[in-house]
């Protein structure tokens, strides 16, 4: 006796194939929702903002009168913030990664630091803001200056750099290390001269991604207390400052008072997205140029 009725299977097969086909289309549409939102978002922002972007907008200082307002202060603030964040995260991120990958014995300490880093990555950015407010702004008495914001931001993006650097270090083939040790090189000489140069593309990619996160991040700086008022251009890391996302924030929430503020916010978003686009393109370029050399 046959357990499988071939006719029944054949009859049902059409239905099963149709279900497969329909769901494939649904899955595709679901995936495309992201694209649709992206297009609408870009379209909106460009429609609202593009007309407002001109030389004056980029170079003027802040003003309560929309037609005279500019974002030079925010651009400079973002730049100064990066001048703090880039070296600090690079030192802390790469240092931690080298310690974990090359020096630490695989034991309690190692897994403790590792677990801690992955937990830090999940802490909401606003909590880092509170840490920065309590420790840097008030505790150490920095006030809401670039340095305080930069250090806060550095701790926030640190896990990104650590994880990326660890992956890059792990990808350096063991035979390169062996070659160096075989010449009588010490551990640090090997790391400095062979391992790090081989890992640097991956590390740089991670660093740029971390920086672009810091460029777009708002919440910690709101908590630290970036003034909405007109302030002079920042000239160093000890000056008060504002950044592009903060400018977007203040203009957006005040758009109900002055309608043109929405346009200013959109224009600033365009500038911010262009900055991020440039940073990410650099990261992609580095990644493609140095991909798979071994």
């Amino acid at each position: 006796m046959k357990y499988v009725d071939a006719n029944l299977v054949a009859k049902k097969m059409n239905g099963r194939l149709a279900a497969n086909h329909i769901s494939q289309i649904i899955f595709l549409l679901a995936t495309l929702i992201g694209l649709v939102v992206l297009v609408i978002l870009f379209y909106r922002v460009l429609m609202d903002g593009l007309g407002w972007i001109n030389f004056d907008f980029l170079t003027n200082r802040l003003s309560t009168r929309p037609e005279r307002a500019g974002i030079m202060g925010a651009l400079l603030g973002t730049l100064w913030l990066m001048i703090v964040v880039a070296p600090v995260t690079m030192l802390l991120g790469i240092g931690t990664a080298i310690y974990l990958e090359e020096y630490a014995k695989k034991g309690r300490m190692h897994s403790f630091i590792q677990t801690n880093i992955s937990n830090l990555a999940g802490v909401p950015s606003i909590v880092f803001g509170i840490l920065g407010l309590t420790v840097f702004v008030r505790g150490l008495g920095f006030g809401n200056i670039v340095l305080a914001g930069g250090l806060t931001m550095s701790l926030l993006v640190l896990p990104i750099v650590v994880v990326a650097s660890q992956e890059a270090l792990r990808a350096v083939p063991q035979f390169l290390r062996e070659a160096s040790y075989g010449m009588g090189a010490t551990k640090w000489q090997t790391i400095k001269n062979v391992v790090l140069p081989a890992a640097i593309p991956g590390i740089l990619t991670g660093l740029i991604l971390a920086l672009s996160r810091a460029v777009g991040e708002t919440a910690p700086l709101v908590v630290i207390g970036i003034p909405a008022l007109l302030i002079p251009f920042p000239n160093g890391i000890f000056d008060k400052f504002t950044v592009l996302p903060m400018q977007i924030y203040y203009w957006t929430i005040d758009a109900s008072i002055v309608e043109e503020y929405a346009n200013l916010a959109a224009a600033t978003i365009v500038v911010l997205l262009v900055v991020l686009l440039i940073m990410n393109s650099i990261a992609v370029m580095i990644r493609n140029k140095y991909q798979k050399r071994y």
Binding site: K105, Q174, F175, L176, R177, E178, A179, S180, Y181, G182, M183, G184, A185, T186, Q189, N193, V194, P197, A198, R293, Y294
Partner: protein, 268 residues
């Protein structure tokens, strides 16, 4: 040419050690709980080629990597017994592993040049040992590349990345890199196993040439190669030295039955 021993740090050793580079005494080695080497006793003589043969997993590579303590890169390794290099025990607490590896160069199974220029590959060793003078480095690079019989092929592209070379060239580059710090001994871990026959022949010729100035220990899975290039041969099996004698003798008249089986291909 001055004899090499003159410039070696430890020439003040006893007279009978004079021609012995390595003296291995009762060496045992474990990876965790697995014993990889059992009671090895071997003497390596100066300016000779010593071949180490045996089936895979017999411990021949492990032994070679013990000679410059590269085996310690595996964290779970333990050893007992001693290896005297020029009369000094390399497992001694005060013995600096970097000094050992400066005196004992190594060529690996797979060519492993650094992803740097040909020039920088050769200059790597001298540089990490504090030689910074550009002129001297230039001379070292040329001399080493000539020594490895690859100068004529690469002299016009010293600034090119070493990864653009063929496998055989890369391996000779690695040998040149090794020569740049003028080692006393060169360890070779199946240096031709990743190469084509022509490149293999070139490397074998090179080994014959290098023997005049260096002591060479070569691990090979290729018995013809051992017969062609070595003066002495050690046959390893399951972490033990089964037979160690002059290559001619071993291949024409092996004393041990297992050796005979292996070299006549009747093994396993």
């Amino acid at each position: 040419m001055t004899t090499l021993t003159d410039s070696v740090e430890v020439t003040d050793s006893t007279k009978e050690d004079k021609n012995i580079v390595y003296d291995t005494k009762n060496l045992n080695l474990w990876y965790g709980d697995d014993q990889a080497l059992r009671d090895i006793n071997l003497q390596i003589t100066e300016n000779e080629v010593t071949a180490i043969i045996g089936p895979s997993g017999c411990g021949k590579s492990t032994y070679l990597k013990t000679l410059n303590r590269m085996v310690e890169l595996v964290p779970v390794v333990r050893t007992s017994g001693e290896i005297l290099y020029r009369g000094k025990n390399i497992f001694d607490k005060t013995y600096q592993v970097e000094t050992l590896r400066t005196n004992v160069g190594m060529v690996f199974q797979k060519p492993n040049p650094f992803p740097k220029s040909i020039y920088d590959n050769i200059a790597y060793g001298p540089r990490i040992h504090g030689i910074k003078n550009k002129k001297i480095l230039d001379e070292i690079v040329e001399k080493s590349l000539r020594g490895a019989a690859i100068w004529d092929e690469v002299k016009d592209r010293l600034k090119d990345n070493a990864y653009g070379m063929s496998g055989g060239q890369q391996q000779r580059l690695c040998i040149a890199r090794c020569l740049a710090i003028e080692p006393d001994v060169i360890l070779m871990d199946e240096p031709t196993s990743a190469l084509d026959p022509i490149s293999t022949l070139k490397v074998e010729d090179l080994i014959q040439e290098l023997k005049k100035s260096y002591s060479i220990i070569i691990v090979t899975h290729n018995m013809q190669q051992a017969a062609r290039i070595s003066d002495k041969t050690a046959f390893f099996l399951s972490g033990e030295v089964i037979e160690f004698s002059d290559t001619d003798k071993m291949f024409s008249n092996p004393k041990n039955k297992q050796t005979e089986d292996y070299i006549t291909g009747r093994f396993g």
